[in-house]
């Protein structure tokens, strides 16, 4: 059995969730037994946005207690770590990026775990690859070539990433250019100022415009949670982005002072659940930046499973935006396989 990396539908081996539903043919996930379609957006519902209430201390308390409430050990841990890898967007977004760096990253994306470790773990059949490679527009072509035939997607950051403050026309043109260049996924940034000013219509229009420019490319909307700061802002921005048609909502650019945290993620994931329950449409989630350890990846996967369910632990609805994380997971897998922790240099770098 090879893992299906095509992100347009859920893996058919997902425990029979879709087995007996009449609407299953278009469903990309189920929530509490109900099939969900991919997000086509809805008209802006201001009432919904204004009704949002988030209790800061309770959210933080739940996020903190959750990491102690769930743990996975042994073969289950190994399986969860592999799942984390399959949900990873390997990312390079530095000013000094070059084609060669991107090619190396893509090579790592195709073969995230070295062959001998794959053999010891006995997981050749899984054909583990990462979810996507995430780069600036300039490197789309290089990445596409390097990943050809692998099933790993190419995601391009766009719309004046990371600040997102170029003129709208430029940002839209940027998306179009990346889509024409062949990017499968586009990561856009919202204008945080619209959230601070409560200009929900403007935010909605902006995201809807981006979505239109994306066409069939899958759109992740970066909220910039490290800038938005309050959980209430994050929740409201989440709803507006989803209503405007986001395929995924993403925490942060990775360039903010604080990026993805469990409490912020909990708020966004609850918003996704609420949206799914109200509209019957599924939106994915991507925490980006600040996730460095294997243990953290387990914590996030547990949260996705608890709050939304197993469909949201697959690459079509969940991604980690990370770079260093893979290395820590490799060391953890090595320990599982051999009983010993390896030095970093024992695993090939990207």
């Amino acid at each position: 059995m090879s893992v299906d990396h095509s992100h347009s539908h859920a893996s058919s081996k997902s425990g029979g969730e879709l087995a007996s539903k009449e609407h299953a043919s278009n469903a990309i996930a189920t929530l509490d037994g109900r099939p969900l379609l991919s997000n086509a957006g809805i008209p802006l519902d201001l009432h919904w946005v204004q009704e949002v209430r988030v209790n800061t201390s309770a959210v933080e308390r739940r996020a903190q207690s959750q990491t102690a409430r769930r743990t996975v050990k042994k073969d289950w841990q190994a399986a969860w770590l592999l799942r984390a890898i399959s949900c990873m967007d390997l990312t390079t977004l530095s000013g000094d990026d070059t084609d060669e760096r991107v090619r190396r990253l893509c090579a790592k994306a195709r073969q995230p775990i070295q062959q001998d470790l794959v053999q010891i773990l006995g997981i050749e059949e899984l054909g583990i690859k990462v979810g996507a490679v995430c780069v600036y527009h300039t490197f789309i072509e290089t990445a596409l070539r390097a990943l050809e035939g692998s099933g790993v997607h190419v995601a391009a950051v766009s719309t004046g990433f990371p600040a997102g403050l170029s003129p709208l026309a430029e940002r839209v043109a940027e998306i179009r250019r990346s889509v024409e260049a062949g990017a499968n996924e586009i990561d856009v940034v919202i204008t945080r100022g619209h959230v601070f000013g409560g200009r929900w219509q403007a935010l909605y229009d902006e995201v809807a415009t981006f979505k239109q420019a994306c066409g069939t490319a899958h759109m992740k909307v970066i909220l910039g949670t490290g800038d938005l700061l309050t959980y209430r802002n994050v929740a409201r921005a989440s709803f507006v982005a989803m209503m405007a048609g986001a395929d995924f909502i993403k925490t942060s650019t990775g360039k903010e002072p604080t990026n993805a945290t469990l409490p912020v993620s909990l708020v966004m994931v609850r918003a996704i659940r609420e949206y799914a329950q109200q509209t019957g449409m599924a939106v994915g989630f991507k925490p980006a930046g600040g996730i460095r350890t294997a243990k953290q990846s387990i914590d996030w996967l547990a949260m996705m499973k608890e709050e939304l369910g197993v469909p949201w632990t697959r690459a079509d609805l969940f991604r980690f935006g990370a770079s260093g994380l893979l290395g820590d997971i490799e060391r953890q897998l090595e320990h599982h396989a051999t009983g010993r922790y390896s030095a970093e240099y024992r695993h090939p770098i990207a």
Partner: protein, 497 residues
């Protein structure tokens, strides 16, 4: 299951805590324990023992001594003999013993946590992360009080010999709540652990020996209700401290009414959990999980009565059911379990009976589809709706993972329903509106501990300024204080009272 299969299913799989250390401690003692009196282990005078069981699988853990009146007498005499020298120590010297006990609890924390789980049935996560750390903190805290006693409470004298009877829901923590302040204020102690859960008290006795605590300062006499009765009636006990059911508390109050004995009672509750329409519902639901499904609902201050504003009731119930479906019920020694075993058959029977009666009276019972282990005493998380104030499930403490839910329409009605109970232990209010929230808290003033946006489990915070967090005893949940300044006062005679 292979890694490949787990990869697809994303099951949690088992995550068992290792019980080897606890098993070998039990084995070292030949699974038979005597009484800890006058600093040594003694066989029970009448030679009788009773069994302590692991409720997760019904297996016998050990034989424990049945303390008779003669044993209680010996313990009280040992406590009396130790009393004068103990109170003659400097406060600093007493503080050092308490500090040593705190350190020893931390040193042996894993053994204590695992044994607590095996004896009580609570999830290892709770005993490891909540019970045992709080025990240690409680001893540290009272080490501080011991040190400060003379300057903060000049003229106070200890009661003398204190008889303490504790319940099974937080065995070692209840022991800490009793023993730490008593010792800090210069008292000596005879403590009777609950019949269902004596084991961690017996480890504690060994820690007393390891700390070099003078003989007779702490005496542990295991036994059933008759042992407790002997302690309550013993003429040379100066004070009785009891935590347990309201019925037994009442009996103790009658029994001690005409005696000189001071009394503190921490009894039952049927605490309201109030959710207004402007609350963050998802967060309130998490608060509810802590409020009623923590420790299988076997908590005196459990938020067992949900009062929800009518306008959000349907949405809230739906969220609660979804959340309940995610609660994992199973082997308490599994680190990823939310709900463990009920402490004993008799408690399980009581829960089943009361739920059945509630349903017979018109309540609707909902439980998630969850596979319960075939052995042991388990009860699924339960919510009862269509509950009226007259219903038994709204009036009486169930002491299980059962939530009784009612609606209200106005804040005034919420307060009225909340206060319509013979108990008055705890409560909490959820609302994002500051006016509603503070009004709710203020009018709940006849309640012991009123909380905003969190459940009282967290009120066991001992680093606050003494006296700031009181658990006052009013109505049927007892007399006296559990911690803070007042508890120090309660353990001592005042010059003028």
């Amino acid at each position: 299951m292979s890694i490949a299969e787990n990869f697809v299913s994303m099951e949690y799989g088992p995550a068992p805590e290792d019980s080897k250390e606890a098993e070998s401690w039990l084995q070292r003692h030949g699974r038979r324990f005597g009484l800890f009196i006058g600093g040594t282990w003694q066989a029970p005078a009448a030679g009788r023992y009773f069994d302590s069981f692991d409720p997760s699988n019904g297996e016998r853990l050990a034989e424990v001594a049945q303390g008779s009146a003669a044993d209680v007498d010996a313990a009280v005499r040992a406590a009396r003999a130790a009393s004068a020298p103990w109170r003659a120590l400097t406060p600093h010297a007493r503080a050092r013993y308490l500090y040593a006990l705190a350190r020893l609890v931390q040193k042996h924390s894993r053994l204590l946590a695992v044994l607590e789980t095996m004896d009580n049935g609570k999830p290892i996560r709770e005993s490891r992360d909540i019970d045992i750390p709080l025990v240690a903190r409680h001893f540290y805290y009272h080490a501080g009080w011991a040190q400060l006693l003379e300057q903060e409470f000049p003229g106070y004298e200890p009661c003398g010999v204190v008889g303490q009877i504790i319940p099974w829901n937080f065995p070692l923590l209840m022991l800490a709540w009793k023993i730490a302040p008593a010792l800090a204020t210069g008292n000596t102690v005879v403590l009777k652990p609950a019949e269902f859960t004596p084991l961690t008290a017996l480890v504690f006795a060994e820690l007393c020996q390891e700390a070099g605590l003078p003989a007779g300062v702490v005496n542990i006499v295991t036994g059933d209700g008759s042992t407790g009765e002997a302690l309550v009636k013993h003429p040379d006990v100066d004070k009785i401290a009891f935590t347990g059911s309201t019925e037994v508390g009442r009996a103790i109050r009658s029994a001690t009414a005409s005696s000189h004995k001071r009394l503190s009672l921490e009894l039952g509750g049927k605490s309201p959990f109030i959710i207004f329409e402007d609350a963050d519902l998802d967060s309130a639901v998490e608060g509810l999980v802590d409020g009623i499904w923590f420790n299988q609902g076997q908590v005196c201050c459990a938020g067992s009565r949900l009062l929800m504003q009518e306008s959000i009731a349907e949405t809230l119930i739906s969220k609660i059911r979804d959340r309940m479906s995610k609660l994992r019920v199973g082997a308490p020694l599994d680190k990823a379990i939310d709900i463990g075993a009920i402490v004993a058959r008799v408690q399980l029977d009581r829960i089943e009976r009361m739920v059945a009666q509630g349903v017979a009276e018109g309540a609707t019972c909902w439980q998630p589809q969850v596979a319960l282990p075939s052995r042991g005493f388990y009860y699924p998380p339960t919510i009862l709706t269509n509950v009226h104030p007259t219903s038994i499930v709204a009036q009486q403490e169930i002491f299980g993972p059962v939530l009784a839910a009612m609606t209200f329409r106005t804040p005034k009605e919420a307060v009225e329903l909340a206060n319509n109970t013979v108990y008055g232990l705890a409560s909490c209010v959820w609302s994002e509106g500051i006016n509603v929230a503070l009004h709710g808290r203020a009018t709940q003033g006849r309640r012991g501990v009123g909380e905003l946006h969190k459940y009282v489990r967290r009120s066991l915070r001992l680093w606050r300024i003494p006296g700031e967090r009181l658990r006052s005893r009013r109505r049927s949940r007892g007399l006296g204080r559990i911690y803070g300044t007042r508890v120090v006062q309660a353990r001592s005679e005042t010059a003028c009272s």
